[in-house]
Symmetry: D3
Subunit: 243 residues, 6 copies
Amino acid sequence: MELTALTLARLNAASTATLTTVLFKRGFRNVFMQGLSPLNSAAARFVAPAFTLRYIPAREDLDGLKAFDDRRHPQRVAVEECPAGHVLVMDSRGDPQAASSGNLLVTRLMKRGCAAVITDGGFRDSPEIAALGFPAFHQRPSAPTNLIRHHAVDLQQPIACGGVAVYPGDVLVGDAEGVVVIPQHLADEVAEEAYRQTMYEDWVNERILAGEGLFGLYPLTDATQQQAYAAWAGSQSTRYPHL
Amino acid sequence: MELTALTLARLNAASTATLTTVLFKRGFRNVFMQGLSPLNSAAARFVAPAFTLRYIPAREDLDGLKAFDDRRHPQRVAVEECPAGHVLVMDSRGDPQAASSGNLLVTRLMKRGCAAVITDGGFRDSPEIAALGFPAFHQRPSAPTNLIRHHAVDLQQPIACGGVAVYPGDVLVGDAEGVVVIPQHLADEVAEEAYRQTMYEDWVNERILAGEGLFGLYPLTDATQQQAYAAWAGSQSTRYPHL
Amino acid sequence: MELTALTLARLNAASTATLTTVLFKRGFRNVFMQGLSPLNSAAARFVAPAFTLRYIPAREDLDGLKAFDDRRHPQRVAVEECPAGHVLVMDSRGDPQAASSGNLLVTRLMKRGCAAVITDGGFRDSPEIAALGFPAFHQRPSAPTNLIRHHAVDLQQPIACGGVAVYPGDVLVGDAEGVVVIPQHLADEVAEEAYRQTMYEDWVNERILAGEGLFGLYPLTDATQQQAYAAWAGSQSTRYPHL
Amino acid sequence: MELTALTLARLNAASTATLTTVLFKRGFRNVFMQGLSPLNSAAARFVAPAFTLRYIPAREDLDGLKAFDDRRHPQRVAVEECPAGHVLVMDSRGDPQAASSGNLLVTRLMKRGCAAVITDGGFRDSPEIAALGFPAFHQRPSAPTNLIRHHAVDLQQPIACGGVAVYPGDVLVGDAEGVVVIPQHLADEVAEEAYRQTMYEDWVNERILAGEGLFGLYPLTDATQQQAYAAWAGSQSTRYPHL
Amino acid sequence: MELTALTLARLNAASTATLTTVLFKRGFRNVFMQGLSPLNSAAARFVAPAFTLRYIPAREDLDGLKAFDDRRHPQRVAVEECPAGHVLVMDSRGDPQAASSGNLLVTRLMKRGCAAVITDGGFRDSPEIAALGFPAFHQRPSAPTNLIRHHAVDLQQPIACGGVAVYPGDVLVGDAEGVVVIPQHLADEVAEEAYRQTMYEDWVNERILAGEGLFGLYPLTDATQQQAYAAWAGSQSTRYPHL
Amino acid sequence: MELTALTLARLNAASTATLTTVLFKRGFRNVFMQGLSPLNSAAARFVAPAFTLRYIPAREDLDGLKAFDDRRHPQRVAVEECPAGHVLVMDSRGDPQAASSGNLLVTRLMKRGCAAVITDGGFRDSPEIAALGFPAFHQRPSAPTNLIRHHAVDLQQPIACGGVAVYPGDVLVGDAEGVVVIPQHLADEVAEEAYRQTMYEDWVNERILAGEGLFGLYPLTDATQQQAYAAWAGSQSTRYPHL
């Protein structure tokens, strides 16, 4: 399933915080990857479907440096096959004691047109990755080479990342706060509601900066405020073209 | 109890590190909030009495999004009632898996003249809060909406935050390192001693930068150094006007 | 044992990530200090032999503020005796709840010509230390005074730091990613191989930025790529003067 | 609100595991206290309404041994005022580094007819408490006296215990597995459904021990099995007198 | 691959401790499942090939109680298809906050002739499972129903359990200390060496109980002790029939 | 310094809980080893001076199985040289991922007349050690051989164990709850006070079992109760012969 341009545009305008609220309304409580942060907070924003890679613990007889000579090694295959516009998401069992990947592989992903890269472990060469300006999220920097603790085992299987289920094709959105996972079949409706919610919260923010209080405004329970918002919202088509 | 202008000025000149030492001399070992950091290290400095809010774990039947329609919801009441010049301190049980608060509420606190906001959980909209230039401290960013894990239960009760007891009215001081809690009745004497200690350590710092060694200087056990310090200190009334 | 100028130059050109790979080839899996980061990522790079200080938990009758009056206090002795060009490494049992050291001591180390300072606990006065431009690594900022939790017990003993064994004289290398420990007797050979590996990875990086794929290039299993690399490497003596 | 004899009897027959399922059907996901276990697994079973005590971190000037001379000290008041048939539940912020209580206080609770005692910290005198045969749950044994880390602050407020919200009057059920919290207003309906579920699972257990497979049996989707169960269930009034 | 009767007999005589030593000699450092313990230490001993089940985090729209109505649900399929003589090993991501399984399913495994069951999360109905006398290992008891946190996703894939890689068919050995994983292709040679090592350590134990010291005995570096052992070992064919 | 028979007898009658209280009165807050428990709670009681062994992380080139061939290996020296009547205390950095020691070494300690053995890591062969009836305390069972993670580095140095400072010669007391560390120079006075406190608490326990309340009794603030206690205490010389 392709993301439509409209859904992409709407999600690009929504924060991960707003998206968690919209998903909570639909009963989803566990959609934000816990404990991950962008290596470069100025290059954190992305919207993309997930392409998954799963690690299990390394085993000394299988995971020597020669393992990478095999062109079928799932980590290398992932980097060469993750489709453009997609985000490579790695289940590293939350273990940052050895790297999930490094700068050379992340640069290759970027060059291939991928949208972002995520691990719930750590990246090595983290200063170089941060300098790429490519969205990358992890737990903490980790210099040790991948094979010391990780064995890449399969691609495009449902995984855990940051404590959240990620199914291939799920729509991930990242910003400087972190990453949220949207089940694929809900992407369009979540995008629409999040876009409207963003417009509303932008207005609330302006009202608060103008000195107004929360009550009646946030949530919008006051009738006068409801009218004020309706009036304002009706004239925002330029600022919010994706309504 | 109001903070006097003198105490406020003195505490504004002291680091959290110095304050922990002054409190340790009085037998206090646990006054620094563990694991918290400012969202914006250039906007971390504050001195303010504590106004407290306590969370317990959410319960699904009580903590739906409708909960915020109630104007008596303690989180919203806290934001509207925390007095100007005070810091809102939230006991989130050290749980950053859902947000303690977000940008709209923090902006409202700022507009109302509050001094700072602290949680031992996490803030959502953390990039926006960081951009406010308003002192805010937490454990880590947390996009998920508050109600997923937190139930605001009461105001102005003694709480735990970052492993430290906080009683309403305790004087909190923040800087780029973190937050220290001063029992209210000790604020004046701690401020005075910390101010003097700051002056002394500034002098030590200059001596070290000039090439001197630690022995006799820090601590000030050498008689010659004691005289040198006394001489220097006697001429610093411009630089240290709050002696 | 002195570090030769050549080994120093080579290690200065290698990243901690590359060094973990070179050490892994020799069977070392645990050489990267886990969970530590530089206070100032722009001032993280250093290469230096280790001078060690060990802490055990404080005991109230031994660790009052008067403890520092004793000129034999190991923490103060460490700061005055760590040789120029060396890095002071502190085993703080991974406990950042009170400071391992503060700005005045770190400044003194810098003035004495030491290369860097490391603790697996935390530094107090962390904003001032970050501003020094002196390589310093820790777990997180920690304002509380040292004696609240730490008792300096001995110098120049083998220690643990960040989960890694550090023997006095081991060669430590730091960069913005963290710190790697090289057993002293391997410093020369590790430096040479890491320097070559750095040259190779620089070339790979250029090829990837030029649009090439990983297979055959990284690792270098393709004969054509091997020739291309040999040709390129043969002409790099200016860029890599320490071959 | 009193627990009816019928609800009490039904809950006494249900395991904590079954109760979490019945509550999950009503949307409750977080009702089992995490990480707590009985000191004596042969004396773990209880059903009782909650009486709550809240601790915050100790402060050295307030929490000396003289604190217990005050008859209004909330910990001692709790032990003397927790009603017979109730369970004293302590919010110790999940901190077992000092005791939440010890044998003398637990013995007094037992003598006063209380039903059980719970902390998410630890008990001291744990071997003696285990020998009492009185239901007591904690995280781990903890010899250090209470005041070293805990300050009893209030009674009968909503609290957190083991990561679960506990409101005064909530109905707690304990067995050798742990403790589940039932919101007070749901106690009767949860008791009824759990009792029926227990009867059903007892039957399933017999069928499995007789060699039958899971499919159609558990869950009960097979029509033949449904009839078999209906027939069996119709004749169990002696064994299950509280239907 | 079937386990031979000889290998089975030898492994049944070896402790998990001895097996880790034999595997360490072959370069394996990570073969013991960390943090798991038997529910019943008197019923912990087993030797069996692994049959694997993998969980990822639950998602509210997929993991309601109706999920178990589907006979293809991997957890239920696992329980009905794990071959007799095999151990069912569950990758629960080390999360004991909801159950990996409960008594009814474990009883069914036992009835079907399976050898043991392992999760790195927790079992519900843990007192009943402990009473079965069937080898079961977990992290801690966990009453909440499986679906609250776990989604069974696939069978017979390589997994992580207790921080160790488990490939289907690997030979697992359990005792009251825990569980060790032997790569399938090494089972025979590890069994032989472990059996001999067990015999040797039994003899050492007798010597120590007789008052001898460690030096020369353990390890066996003393020539006289070597002769004594050789003499003893030559006459043990009755006690050690599987040499 | 030798422990006198009187001090030994008194400490043998006191619980670790009582000892923490007596030490707290003298300003000691951190004397109970956190997170350790006896392998056999029926064989936990001991009183003994500490003999210390320190581990740092293993390094692959130093810590192969051949390391034990060296008779100067500190772990083996410790087992052969820890004096009779002493407790061997191991600083394992709180790491139970590989064993601190196993059954053969612990049996040798027992045979040599040592009083107990403690690690803040884990023992292998834990079921066999539990069966010895010899006081042994650890964090959790750990089958992997010592050298995988631990390098024994020195003897009789001050160490950390379970978060507590242990100086050689400090007096350790263990019971089923855990282990308390008494600074050597305080052993006599702590023993005396703890013995009296034990007598008092035994009386309180009897009064509570007889139905009395806490107020005035515990602490003993009521004049009538004080007289009652004085009368009772005056006649207890048989039951408490070490007053």
